[in-house]
Symmetry: C2
Subunit: 159 residues, 2 copies
């Protein structure tokens, strides 16, 4: 009976709320990002890159759950601003390894600092501790998936 503990309780899915809050954040973020030449998608890419470190372009596409061709365009824009760099992989020179530049890391930190007002608006109902808890949960969830698909793609030395 331990396996069915929540049968009579409402199911709690975070998907819709995640979507809802993400939108509210995104709408407000656009105004903050625009003057810096960035859009929300760029911020997501940079954030993911910082979280997982250098990674293959394909791995990034898989993590962002985006089509490879669109990743190219996204990275082109980021590279034009010197926020990321593409290096050829030594093991397989067809591959590009994407890495966050120092400029990129600094810019990311700067942007996050500038987003304080957005956080205050959208997460106003949460106190500092709760916001930190939320951040850590999101980060843990995001990281959990990175490893699972990165290892499946990046690792191919033995075959």
């Amino acid at each position: 009976m331990v396996s069915l503990p929540a049968v009579n309780q409402p199911v709690h899915r975070s998907g819709a709320l995640l979507d809802h809050l993400a939108r509210r954040m995104r709408v407000r973020s656009e105004a903050v990002l625009a003057p810096l030449g960035l859009r929300p998608r760029h911020l997501v890419a940079l954030t993911v890159l910082r979280s997982r470190g250098d990674c293959t372009q394909q791995a990034l596409a898989a993590t962002l759950e985006m089509d490879g061709t669109n990743i190219v365009g996204l990275l082109n824009e980021l590279e034009a601003e010197n926020l990321i760099e593409r290096r050829r992989s030594p093991e397989d020179r067809r591959r590009h390894v994407v890495e966050l530049t120092d400029t990129g890391a600094k810019q990311l930190a700067k942007v996050e600092f500038a987003l304080a007002a957005v956080d205050d608006e959208v997460l106003g109902a949460l106190d500092e501790g709760q916001r930190e808890a939320l951040y850590n949960l999101l980060l843990q969830a995001a990281r959990g998936m990175e490893t699972s698909c990165a290892s499946a793609i990046d690792a191919k030395p033995e075959s």
Copy 2:
């Protein structure tokens, strides 16, 4: 010195991660929702409606942070499926009060149940307790804003 505790620490903004995870959820949800004639946007609307209860169409637009004209179309679709109902407001007959129908509530619960696999995939790195914590934080954040803008719009009797 208590007032500046985080000056030398990285700033933790949830926006980008929220966006990232929401996308992963959304992409997967589409496959689950499609057979039921729903899309992610419908789920968000229903979820918000359940969370805040009946509300003015304008208040809903404000909460969803969406253009009024698009809300009309969204509600048309939901009403066609009998998931929501529009009633004239007794106080001001120009207004529509939107409410979740019984059918809508049941459908919502059913859909959430069906989204278990999606949650497992995207939030796989979180245990049950953490997922519940995440849900509660998101709900609290979402509710915090509802009241703030609902009261500003709904309440207009005195002028």
